[in-house]
């Protein structure tokens, strides 16, 4: 991929900073999300909570549905391709959506390789559980990162764990002497050039959102406080009692993450949150975050 194109793609992610990206399954939901202040929508056939409940193989959404959602809003539209599924990614690029999420929420197509993202003009966002995983995806051409969390649970614990892991990795690199970089890279599978860049910048070189388990304005604010640049909310909105109100409140909670009185105000009377399931009650083989490497 041409360098200029990569720059434009990272810069679109920069314009999403401080915002909330919401999972939607219908054009009507997309419009609700846009009006509530979403900075982008993720077009899906099923939200992660339903994928989890219904099981089976989860694939890229029907292009007809993606097209309908694209036609219904003017904010960016993202859609998911399976990890390593180059052809699903090519189809999404042909649909001219705005961003592809190479996502562990769908059933992986390749357990060895992720999509070679440099070959595409369209931007990719990829999930990561720690600094090494984030840097590997950036080396493959991801223009944006999101920490994985555990999608469809409404449990924030994994999102926190992954954000801490990324932050810890950055801190380690920043505090290192130059000669310590290569062994650290070797141990954590970090591409050396990206590691140097992280050390120099003191953060990931691309925008990093939090995802997987955010269900309340307080959850969104917690992740912002930990240093992410914005949040993805999947099942948390349209699996709740009053999606519109909750969507607006999460947008406010993200913008005013460091302002407890405003957070208290926007958290009032939101109705039922998604029921969710504690991550520690889910059998190991059903966890999504472990997909990809």
């Amino acid at each position: 991929m041409e360098n200029k194109r990569y720059q434009l793609n990272s810069q679109l992610a920069q314009m999403l900073k401080g915002g909330v990206i919401m999972d939607v399954t219908t054009p009507e939901h997309a419009r609700i999300a846009e009006q509530a202040g979403a900075v982008a929508v993720m077009a899906l056939e099923r939200v992660p909570a339903d994928i989890r409940e219904q099981g089976g193989v989860a694939r890229m959404s029907d292009p007809a549905l993606i097209k309908e959602i694209q036609d219904s809003v003017s904010i960016p539209v993202m859609a998911k391709a399976r990890i390593g599924h180059t052809v699903e990614a090519q189809i999404l690029e042909a649909l001219q959506i705005d961003y592809i999420d190479e996502s562990e929420v769908l059933t992986p197509a390749d357990e060895e390789c992720h999509v070679e993202k440099h070959a595409f003009s369209i931007p990719f966002v990829c999930g990561a559980r720690d600094l090494g995983e984030a840097c590997r995806r950036i080396a493959e051409g991801a223009a944006m990162i999101r920490t994985k969390g555990e999608a469809g649970t409404g449990d924030i614990v994994e999102a926190v764990r992954h954000m801490r892991a990324v932050n810890r990795g950055v801190k380690h690199l920043v505090g290192m002497n130059d000669e310590e970089i290569t062994p650290y890279c070797k141990e954590h599978g970090i591409p050396y050039e990206i590691a140097r860049q992280v050390k120099e910048l003191g953060r990931l070189p691309v925008v990093n959102f939090a995802a997987g388990g955010i269900a309340t304005p307080a959850d969104a604010a917690l992740m912002m406080k930990m240093g992410c640049d914005g949040v993805f909310v999947g099942s948390g909105i349209f699996k709740s009692g009053d999606p519109q109100k909750r969507a607006e409140a999460i947008v406010q909670g993200t913008a005013y993450y460091d302002d407890p009185p405003t957070l208290a105000e926007v958290s009032k009377g939101l109705g039922e949150a998604m029921v969710g399931s504690g991550v520690n009650t889910i059998p190991e083989e059903e966890l999504m975050a472990g997909r990809g490497w």
């Binding site: 810069q11 920069q14 900073k17 009006q35 202040g37 904010i75 960016p76 961003y99 607006e248 406010q252």
Partner: protein
């Protein structure tokens, strides 16, 4: 920010709700112009100008309405506050938004959201605007809107093909592209001058900052 700065109206505010905030902050730092984040009514006190950054206009519109900042910005504008909207910010300032309701409605332009197409249609361009800089100015368009019409009191500053990409009145500047995502400080200096401020680059012939890189925005995080 010290008290005396506040009294003299010698700094610029950046709407700090969502979008490309640190990018504008970084450019203004390069010009030696003091900046403050604006998120509440009281933050508007003592500003010479306010930048409404790029981001998503529906998001920014909702957040300023929820905070009551829409009325406050309009009132401050009546009292002489200079305004600059980039991309989504331009949509917020427009009096007419095609297929949508206007937000602040302060400048007589008609604008269409996301008018070039999806992210695949985002592009770089260069144009000459002799009033702003001697050299050609690099421009970055990201899912940009198009200004389709301007009122008689509005001056078009630049065009690409049939569309106006930058326009101004005495107190408002709108750009559908992102000068904060390029190495050029020309538009930031122009806005500082509209605000009656001097910059470290006054009198310089080149406004391209050789030290700028696409990663410069990350600097602002190290300083937190």
């Amino acid at each position: 920010m010290d008290e005396s700065a506040e009294a003299k109206n010698d700094h610029i505010g950046i709407l700090n709700l969502q979008g490309g905030i640190v990018e504008h902050q970084d450019h203004m730092m390069r010009l030696g112009v003091a900046c403050v984040p604006v998120r509440r009514k009281q933050d508007l006190v003592g500003l010479a100008g306010l930048i409404i950054p790029g981001g998503e206009s529906t998001c920014l519109g909702r957040l300023i309405r929820n905070a009551g900042l829409d009325r406050e910005i309009c009132e401050a504008y009546e009292e002489g506050l200079q305004l600059w909207g980039t991309c989504a910010g331009a949509i917020l300032l427009a009096q007419h938004v095609n297929n949508d309701a206007p937000h602040l409605g302060l400048i007589d332009i008609t604008i269409s959201r996301n008018a070039f197409g999806s992210q695949l249609a985002s592009f770089h361009e260069e144009i000459r605007i002799p009033e702003l800089a001697a050299e050609s100015i690099p421009l970055t368009f990201i899912r940009a809107p198009k200004i389709t019409k301007v009122g008689s009191d509005v001056t078009a500053l630049g065009r690409i093909d049939d569309c106006i990409i930058a326009a101004e009145t005495e107190n408002i500047l709108v750009t559908v592209f992102h000068p904060e995502l390029t190495s050029s400080l020309a538009f930031h200096r122009h806005f500082a001058h509209k605000c009656g401020l001097t910059t470290d680059c006054d009198g310089k012939s080149s406004l391209i900052d050789p030290h700028w890189s696409p990663y410069s925005w990350t600097r602002q995080y190290q300083q937190r």
